[in-house]
Symmetry: C2
Subunit: 157 residues, 2 copies
Amino acid sequence: MNDIDADTDRNAPGAMAEDALDAQIGYNLKRASALAMNDFAVELADAALRPVTYGMLALIDERPGIRAAELCRRLGMKSANMAPLLAELEERGLVERDDHADDRRVRVLTLTQMARNAMPGWRRQVRRHEDRFLQRLTKKERATLLRLLRLIWTGED
Amino acid sequence: MNDIDADTDRNAPGAMAEDALDAQIGYNLKRASALAMNDFAVELADAALRPVTYGMLALIDERPGIRAAELCRRLGMKSANMAPLLAELEERGLVERDDHADDRRVRVLTLTQMARNAMPGWRRQVRRHEDRFLQRLTKKERATLLRLLRLIWTGED
DNA sequence: TATTGTTATACTCTATAACTATA
DNA sequence: TATAGTTATAGAGTATAACAATA
């Protein structure tokens, strides 16, 4: 127990060197995101849903009949990585892949009745997960955080 | 061009369903983090440094003589995953692993002279990267974001 | 020619287990 | 017994390339 106790403070208490790793937003984004993803996995373990698969289901639920390519675009995924996940969800009886009426290249996605029935419970679990890993933030701080994060990765305000 | 244009707004412009995927902070953390990690990789491609390896170097630079186990703890990594990365950095002539004076189990880490010489340039590149992916945020917003992110993953305020 | 969807494949990051050598 | 460090290995996530079918 010697170098372990060398603290992060440089001069004043609470001060942080501006070039320090701890002061980099990218690093802190990564750490916070990792914590959130981990907590998500714990909460949704019984449903066997990971962040990606839940995101797919949630978006298909919000937009029934969405195309696979559009789902990829909205989730920022490559279709090559989406394909096996869709196959998995279809095999589990959660998603249906149907042919498009006009364009025969297109696969149109909907939730099965089973998945539609389960979604409210899963959404409730996700709310519980968010409340847990965000417990130190006020309602107002959460709204601010949401706005700033969307400002980063979407062009919009 | 049909379902692609179905917009995200529900009622009022700028409104968002509170249960929507877009309104979940975990999801937006993941997207923002992915964007940042990607932009980091682009900026530091010539240095062949990824976020993890840069983080290791930066922390060793801030705390010369740090133990491998302590580096793991601070970066939230498993030692099993750290080992091959340290080996890589050592092989590239960036990090030295020396024996501890008292405890012969411990490996003590320092940057080589080459790495110390390179660090200021790399730190400059990281600043440029942060300025780029955070360009839509004001100085004040960046400070707020940093505080909220650290509030999430560290217990401290 | 471009797009949709798929397969194959490789790389990175992460997690667990098993092991050694020390303490 | 516990800790520091390593190796091996498996699981996810993501990237590219190549392909078939269709527009």
